[in-house]
């Protein structure tokens, strides 16, 4: 079981036997009052969305999803193909199903594909991924504009803010849950 304090964007829970994913989440706690967990959820089978506010003592069932380790092979049109690394079975998910995961998905990456029955419905990415910076403005040392970060683009096309010393061609580690820069990595 999950409790309300486990709720966060991307968490999957089960309601009335069907899997739901939290698509938007806002924690609020007015001073001296009880915590409120405002969530927007999407049914992972039908795509139907709804919003609901939960409280600390609410509990949720974990969805009955099977996880299989698969490797991302290639995309064609809006289909993204994955292969089971032990059975070599191939499946695909659509662009819509993958949503924001595409910000961090690169060829040959190993991910967990989630199955509801025999239907692939989602993937879960590694928490941290290393991606190459493809577009970055050069760092002007002694820059006095007072900004601590600059925008860069990584190989997937995703844009994020990083410290100014990060340069084009660097590999950086990104937290896939938040899309934030963690560190520069040497390879």
């Amino acid at each position: 079981m999950y409790t309300a304090s486990d709720l966060r964007k991307g968490l999957k829970i089960q309601i009335d036997g069907e899997p739901y994913i939290v698509t938007e989440f806002d924690f609020s706690k007015p001073g001296k009052g009880q915590a409120l967990y405002r969530t927007k959820m999407r049914n992972m089978i039908t795509g139907v969305q709804f919003t609901q506010t939960y409280r600390s003592n609410d509990k949720f069932e974990r969805p009955n999803l099977e996880e299989r380790t698969m490797q991302f092979l290639y995309s064609q049109d809006d289909e993204f193909h994955f292969m089971d690394t032990t059975s070599y079975e191939q499946i695909f998910l659509t662009r819509e199903q993958l949503g924001e995961h595409l910000n961090f998905l690169i060829d040959n990456m190993e991910v967990q594909v989630l199955f509801f029955g025999d239907r692939p419905i989602d993937i879960s990415l590694p928490t941290f991924v290393n991606l190459e910076v493809t577009v970055a403005d050069p760092w002007a040392r002694g820059d006095t504009s007072g900004t601590d970060t600059k925008p860069v683009t990584v190989q997937t096309g995703f844009q994020l803010q990083v410290p100014p010393f990060v340069e084009q061609g660097d590999k950086i580690q990104i937290d896939t849950r938040t899309g934030t820069y963690i560190t520069r990595v040497k390879e």
Binding site: F27, P30, L36, R38, D148, T180
Partner: protein, 305 residues
């Protein structure tokens, strides 16, 4: 996450806060962050630490110092609250808390106005404060000129929810309406004090003599963000013991530990009439640096540790 220039601005904010209070003859104190017994509060979950607790607020020790004869004191310290994480919450955060004897919550509201006005001058080189008397945050231009609006909780419920506050409480909708309907409207043109909370939400605040259904408590809002919570302190030991007993009962019903803070109650006998307030420093810095998520205003968001 902050880099060198963000950290410099944060340090300048800390300096300006200290300068304000020291110039007003406030004593800066540093009280223990690990305590054997906490003030019982049903909606706050503390971290345990080898049989003791990490402070969710410096309130307990600072009030004991008031009782010891300190008349004006402030502290900037870290506080810890379990399971609080979001755009405006981190489970470890920086708090500014100050107490002043011989004043009440109205006096504290005026002091909040003076504090922000003083910061506006001291930090006028911040991009957010470059237009004199205003705070630029996102696409909002917030007018800091005095006096700030004072809106009672009673009137706020009437104005923004169409439901009386008594009914919202009876139907357990108080927080939900506050968060969804009221807070987003507060402090969008200029800062707002939301004041006079129902007695049930009075916490450690004194009951108003003129309006016995409310406690003399207020919250300061800027741009929809709850920035500070202050009140006229309750010094009636009997009443305080009674309120603690009901919080302890509520905690026990949730299966959580709680004990009567006897030493605190003992000292409360000697505490002068006073008022105290806690202000979220990370949230203040978030507003002053133009960002919308507290993680962008602190040195190390939890997920980067």
């Amino acid at each position: 996450m902050l880099g060198p220039s963000g950290l410099r601005r944060r340090s300048e904010l800390m300096g300006a806060l200290r300068a304000f209070f020291l110039a007003r003859d406030y004593l800066e104190v540093d009280t223990p962050v690990r305590l054997p017994c906490l003030l019982p509060e049903a909606h706050i979950v503390a971290f345990s630490s080898d049989g003791w607790w990490l402070q969710p607020s410096p309130e307990l020790c600072m009030k004991r110092l008031l009782a010891r004869g300190c008349e004006r004191l402030f502290q900037i310290c870290h506080c810890f609250r379990k399971e609080e994480c979001g755009r405006l919450h981190q489970s470890e955060f920086c708090m500014l808390e100050w107490y002043c004897s011989g004043t009440d919550y109205l006096g504290l509201m005026a002091e909040c106005e003076e504090l922000l006005t003083s910061l506006g001058r001291a930090l006028s080189h911040f991009p957010s404060l470059q237009v004199s008397g205003h705070l630029q945050w996102q696409d909002k231009k917030i007018d800091l000129s005095l006096p700030w609006e004072r809106l009672s909780v009673h009137d706020a419920f009437r104005r923004y929810t169409g439901m009386e506050v008594e009914e919202a409480l009876a139907r357990d909708l108080f927080e939900e309406l506050l968060v969804s309907r009221i807070e987003p409207r507060l402090g969008q043109q200029g800062p707002v004090f939301l004041y006079d909370y129902p007695l049930a939400l009075g916490s450690l605040a004194r009951r108003s003599t003129a309006r016995p259904k409310v406690a003399e408590r207020f919250e300061l809002y800027i741009a929809g963000v709850e920035l500070a919570n202050g009140f006229s302190e309750l010094t009636d030991v009997k009443e305080q013991r009674h309120r603690f007993a009901s919080e302890i009962a509520s905690l026990h019903s949730q299966g959580r530990e709680a004990a009567m803070p006897e030493r605190f109650l003992n000292d409360l006998e000697h505490m002068p009439a006073s008022a105290g307030i806690a202000l979220g420093v990370d949230r203040l810095f978030m507003l002053l640096s133009g960002v919308t998520d507290i993680r962008q205003a602190i040195p190390f968001p939890e997920e980067t540790l």
